[in-house]
Each structure stands twice: as structure tokens, then as C-alpha cells.
């Protein structure tokens, strides 16, 4: 009985770094841990170290707004995220850990004719790929979300919405902890507070990494470092088409649950959900200038609160509990960069910008497969770094222009 109140460690505290690992993963966030987990689970590769410069899940994995969805605009993107949602649906069972995944539905509001056309296009692409997604008008929106202010007496009246029933929210910290525990149980070593300071190469291939806790020899290095990707790329001599921006979010104090769908407005750059604790979780757009400084800004709070109140005037007297930022790695076409680089043994997962969290399990499975077999899985073939040199971009701007 006493046992139920005892806190158990989710993963083992490891001692010194070993002199050699088969695979070193840089970044202990959702992508890095998912890759380590699937390397061990699907391919039996367990001589793996996950190196994290701070605590596990301290970066984007612990700062996102936890939205999972698949209603992207390009067939490549939509197909990719469909696979990710399917993996998320079974992840609690797979990890034997409750991730509190709530597929409550996702409404992307349209405030103009042009937006309605874009939503219709997205619905068409989604339906062709078997993704549950359709255009709805205000009568149905009112049924799905009676709390939403659908009146004309606002700056941008709502004309319709893209409705995506499988979209949902998940407990993001639980995803990180569950993946870390799963990887640890299979023999992967997790090393927090271990910062990579250099990547050793010889004859165009990776031979090891230098860290603040010593040197490691390895054949494969996977960088899953989001906003810091450029700095890791520089260590490996791989230029990246990435710029680093901050993305911000805030939560209100807990309120009685009344919002049971996710509401997104690209026009107003805001996305709103109510967490299981009752907090309203509100996120917005990246700051336009590049920066590595993770300080929150007051204008963000001002405009996102103003926009939220247009949609939910009943939140008028809700108090803001806390505000935070995360670093985002924005790619030129808003699509990710995934897989091999010109340096043998140096793999990347970056360019996720504002929506990397929803891709974690599929990134893990595909990157693990790539490491194990040496072949790029078809699902991630469109997202190679090489596409920027050959100018074959995958523009996801329509679905990612508002970040969530």
C-alpha cells in the first residue's frame, strides 16, 4: 500500500558515458526519444545513447500546445501525419503508460472566401488519402462548439471551418516520459545534462562526438535538436536552410470544462484548447525575426488575448497563469527536413518549425528504419535535405501558416 505513493524513476540514472555506442541521438525530446525507442523496439539496436543538454523534454517537447492532427495541405505532408496520428492512437497501449490522448476534434475557422477555398482544398486532399476531414458551415460549427462566438458583430466573422474529427490533444510530458521509459527498459542510455560540443568526422563520415562529459566513438549521429539544429549542423559541416524563431503560448487559470474541441483561426493567428486540468491553452504565431533568446513578449499576450476574446468573450475575466516560449526551426517550405545528409552517418530531423510534436512517433519509426536498413523509407523520401539543392520543395504553408 505504501508503495503506491512512492515515486519511481521513469528511467535509470546512468553513470559515465561509454567509450562507444552504435548510435548517438542528440536531443532528449520527443523526436530523439522516439527514435531511440523504435531503434530498440523495432530493430533491436540498443547500444544507443540519448544526449540532452538540459533535462529530458526541456525543449519544444515540453513547450508545445499538444495538438495532434493530420489535416495537412500537401499529399506528402498529409500522408505522413496520418501515419503519425495512427501511431499516437496506439501509443498509450504500446508504452503501457496513459498519455491522456483525447481525440476531441479540431476546427480550423475560415473568416474569408479565400480561406474557405483553402479549407475546401485541404478537405479534398485529406479525403483522397482517407483522412477524416471536411468543410462545415456555421450551423454545424454551432452544434460542434456551442460556446464559440459565431455572431457577425466581430472583426472577422466566421464563414465556415475545416472539421477534422481525429484531431486531439495529448499530455505532452507523458509522451516524453513514456518514450524515455520504453527506451530505457530496452537498454537505451539516457544522459541528461550532457551537451554535445563537437562532431568528429573522417573521410566524410561521422566517427564520434565530443561532449561536456567526454568523448564518444560512434558510426551514426542523429540530430533532433529543433531550434538548435543549425548549431549541430555546423559541428558536422552540414549547412541547413533553417532559421530559428520563438513561438509563444500561455495558459489561463483552470476553469470549469466547457470547450470540447480545438479551435484554430489562421486569420487571427490563434489556437485554443482546454486542457484536462481546465486551463485554456492558447498559442499564436512565431515572432518574425530570428532569435535564440527564449524570453516571452508582452505584445504576444496582448494580441492573442484580444483574438481569443473575439472567439470566446466569456473568458473576459479569466486570469493568465503563465506564459512561455520555445525555439522553432523554420524551413523555407514549412515542411520538415528528415533523413540523410551529405556526411555519412549524420542524420537529421529538423525544419519542423511549429508542429514537430505531432510527428514524433512517425519520425521515430522512419528514422529508426533508415538507421537499421540504410534505406530511406518512402514516407520520408520527399523530405530530404537534398530537395533544397534540387529545388523540389514541399510547400506546407497553407496548413502551417498558423502554428499548432
Amino acid at each position: 500500500m505504501r508503495d503506491i505513493f512512492r515515486t519511481r524513476r521513469m528511467w535509470r540514472r546512468r553513470g559515465e558515458l561509454k567509450p562507444r555506442y552504435d548510435v548517438v541521438v542528440i536531443g532528449g525530446g520527443s523526436h530523439g526519444l522516439a527514435t531511440a525507442y523504435y531503434l530498440a523496439k523495432n530493430h533491436g539496436i540498443t547500444n544507443v545513447a540519448v544526449l540532452e543538454k538540459s533535462y529530458i523534454g526541456s525543449g519544444a517537447a515540453g513547450r508545445n500546445t499538444t495538438i495532434i492532427r493530420a489535416n495537412y495541405r500537401t499529399p506528402e505532408g498529409a500522408e505522413f501525419y496520418r501515419s503519425s496520428v495512427e501511431l499516437y492512437e496506439h501509443l498509450s497501449l504500446d508504452l503501457d503508460f496513459n498519455l491522456l490522448f483525447s481525440q476531441q476534434g479540431h476546427l480550423t475557422l475560415a473568416h474569408s472566401d479565400r480561406a474557405m477555398i483553402t479549407m475546401a482544398e485541404r478537405a479534398e486532399v485529406n479525403q483522397l488519402l482517407g483522412i477524416d476531414s471536411r468543410l462545415v458551415y456555421n450551423d454545424e460549427t454551432a452544434r460542434l462548439c456551442p460556446e464559440l462566438n459565431l455572431s457577425d458583430d466581430v472583426t472577422w466573422p466566421i464563414l465556415g471551418a475545416l472539421y477534422h474529427p481525429p484531431g486531439g490533444i495529448i499530455r505532452h510530458d507523458a509522451v516524453v516520459w513514456g518514450l524515455a521509459r520504453g527506451a530505457d527498459r530496452r537498454g537505451v542510455e539516457i544522459h541528461p545534462y550532457t551537451e554535445v560540443t563537437g562532431i568528429e568526422r573522417s573521410n566524410g563520415r561521422v566517427t564520434g562526438v565530443k561532449t561536456t562529459r567526454g568523448e564518444i566513438a560512434c558510426d551514426t549521429v542523429i540530430s533532433a535538436t529543433a531550434g538548435w539544429s543549425t548549431l549541430i549542423g555546423d559541428m558536422a559541416g552540414v549547412p541547413l536552410p533553417i532559421t530559428t524563431h520563438i513561438l509563444q503560448a500561455f495558459v489561463t487559470e483552470p476553469l470549469k470544462p466547457f470547450l470540447h474541441v480545438i479551435i484554430v483561426s489562421s486569420q487571427m493567428h490563434v489556437y485554443i484548447s482546454q486542457t484536462d486540468r481546465g486551463e485554456f491553452l492558447i498559442g499564436a504565431e512565431i515572432e518574425p525575426y530570428t532569435t535564440y533568446r527564449g524570453t516571452s513578449t508582452f505584445p504576444f499576450l496582448e494580441y492573442s488575448a484580444r483574438h481569443t476574446l473575439e472567439l470566446f468573450p466569456q473568458l473576459e475575466s479569466a486570469k493568465v497563469l503563465r506564459q512561455w516560449t520555445g525555439l522553432c526551426d523554420i524551413s523555407p517550405d514549412y515542411s520538415p527536413i528528415l533523413g540523410l545528409t551529405e556526411v555519412d552517418g549524420f542524420l537529421i530531423s529538423c525544419g519542423w518549425g511549429t508542429y514537430g510534436f505531432k510527428a514524433a512517433p512517425i519520425v521515430g519509426t522512419t528514422l529508426a528504419e533508415l538507421v537499421a536498413t540504410g534505406r530511406t523509407p518512402q514516407l520520408i523520401a520527399p523530405f530530404t535535405l537534398e530537395r533544397f539543392y534540387t529545388d523540389t520543395l514541399v510547400s506546407e504553408l497553407a496548413a502551417a501558416a498558423v502554428s499548432h
Partner: protein
């Protein structure tokens, strides 16, 4: 808190008055290969440190100018006008600007 940016014309103003136009880039000389051209178009240094960059005073005097900013702290070290040659096209200290004529 966001930061103040000193416009060479108007003095220190809130950064939200300005449009950010990216780090300065170096246009490839001669006849670039497609790879060099793609690299120029898409790839960025994305420095964590002092970065030379373009800004436009969108909600002010509509001036284009250069700034040196530390991206780790958002401290603006200096702002200045791009120097111009006789023809009026900008030739700043770093050779390339978005406006340099194609070779």
C-alpha cells in the same frame, strides 16, 4: 519583453513597428551552378551570436536599413544605412544585398 530597435531616421522604436527581412546574404558571382544558386536562395547561417540583418520600418518612415544584433540576447549593437555607390544601388560592407543586380 520584446526589444527596441533604433531606426537611423526615427530613433529607438518598438521592434513590432519593423519588418524583419533576414540576414545579409552573399550572391554568388559569375555564373553559379544550380546548386550554388539553390544554396544562396534557401540556406542561412542562422547565427547564434552577432548577426548582420535587414530591417524595414514598416509602420514608420519606411526606411530600409542594416542592423547588427546579437541573436542570443536581442541586443542591437548598431543600425546603419546601406552605403550606396554612384548608381544608387546599395553596396554595403558585406558584398551582397537582396538588391544587388544579377550578374
Amino acid at each position: 519583453m520584446s526589444f527596441l530597435l533604433p531606426c537611423p531616421n526615427c530613433g529607438p522604436r518598438d521592434v513590432d513597428e519593423f519588418a524583419y527581412a533576414g540576414e545579409t546574404t552573399e550572391r554568388p558571382q559569375g555564373t553559379p551552378s544550380p546548386r550554388e544558386l539553390a544554396s544562396y536562395i534557401h540556406f542561412r547561417r542562422n547565427a547564434a551570436g552577432v548577426q548582420r540583418e535587414w530591417w524595414y520600418h514598416r509602420f514608420g518612415c519606411e526606411l530600409w536599413f542594416l542592423a547588427e544584433r546579437d541573436t542570443r540576447t536581442n541586443e542591437v549593437l548598431k543600425t546603419e544605412l546601406p552605403s550606396t555607390d554612384a548608381a544608387g544601388s546599395p553596396t554595403p560592407h558585406e558584398p551582397a544585398t537582396p538588391d544587388t543586380p544579377a550578374v
